[in-house]
């Protein structure tokens, strides 16, 4: 079967290492898995080096080391998306829902 998770994502080390429990990835909530998939898929889709995201993740963690890992992940994702010109802060603001969509 094909594996959409590149090694450079799976094997990140240092502060950017993915949270794991005994080797298995841990998502505390569904949105965290979503944020994870978005970053991996976007980098793949645009054929960017994984470092383009990873460096932002490291920076976001450095900004506030006590922040939960996937909060920093989401901040890094937003920063990447905006800096690539794919959207703007305003457009994101407008698209931000107030309620969770029904499943």
């Amino acid at each position: 079967m094909t594996n959409p998770l590149p090694d450079e994502v799976a094997f990140m080390d240092g502060v950017s290492a993915l949270p794991r429990d005994n080797g298995e990835l841990v998502f505390a909530a569904p949105w965290q898995g979503r944020a994870f998939a978005l970053a991996v898929a976007l980098v793949d889709r645009l054929d960017l080096p994984w470092d383009a995201f990873r460096q932002r993740l490291i920076d976001a963690i450095a900004q506030d080391p006590d922040r939960p890992y996937y909060d920093s992940w989401a901040i890094a994702l937003e920063s990447l998306v905006v800096s690539l010109g794919l959207t703007t802060e305003d457009a994101l603001e407008a698209a931000t829902p107030a309620e969770r969509a029904p499943l």
Partner: protein, 202 residues
């Protein structure tokens, strides 16, 4: 949160944490621009949750099926032969490959914790870490395998391999008889994670 929250099956809208809302916004914007569709992201997420990790082991197995010399090297020194394909690392330091035959079936467990060769097998499935699997794989492997959908004839010997921090095992499954003539890259797709742990025969 609503009062009768039942693990994601709640159909009532719920208030969102700002960070969660922001991720939803990013997804909405990128989806609208046609980068992804929701279904593709759903699939990706469930793949990460259920079956995460590089299934490099499948490439190792497929190579062993098509190349007898590689197979010999793999069985003689798993670590070195796996490294030939570029896989290795701290959790795959000392790999031992055990071969299934018509008479012998191999099963891998880690009775103490959940040692697992994740450079080759990706990340362990949840059941691999469950106390029930860890104890029953040793005590009653035949019953356990049958419950997991693999019924072995009584004359097939089951060998159970207990992984540790020092040694990690990988099962080399038998090549399915209907796979004659397939190219190596197509064989890779036939190799499942479970067959390399030994809870499934191909």
């Amino acid at each position: 949160m609503s009062h009768d929250h039942d693990h994601g099956h709640d159909h009532h809208p719920e208030p969102l944490a700002p960070i969660e809302a922001r991720v939803a916004a990013i997804e909405a914007v990128l989806t609208e621009q046609g980068f992804f569709d929701t279904e593709m992201l759903d699939q990706l997420v469930s793949h990460f949750e259920d079956n995460l990790g590089p299934l490099n082991g499948a490439k190792v197995v497929a190579r062993a099926w098509v190349d007898p010399d590689y197979r010999s090297r793999l069985l003689a020194d798993g670590t070195a032969a796996i490294a030939e394909l570029g896989f290795g690392g701290p959790e795959g330091d000392h790999m031992v490959v055990v071969e299934n035959t018509p008479d012998v079936h191999n099963l891998v467990v880690c009775t103490l914790c959940s040692c697992y060769p994740w450079p080759t097998l990706g990340l362990p499935p949840k059941w691999y870490k469950a106390p029930a699997y860890r104890s029953r794989a040793v005590r009653e492997p035949r019953v356990l395998l049958a419950e997991m959908g693999t019924e072995l004839p009584d004359d097939v010997e089951i060998r159970v391999w207990d992984s540790s921090a020092e040694v990690r095992y990988l099962v080399l499954p038998e090549r399915p008889s209907e796979s004659e003539g397939l190219a190596e890259e197509d064989l890779v797709a036939l190799v499942t994670r479970d067959s390399m742990i030994g809870v499934q025969r191909l």
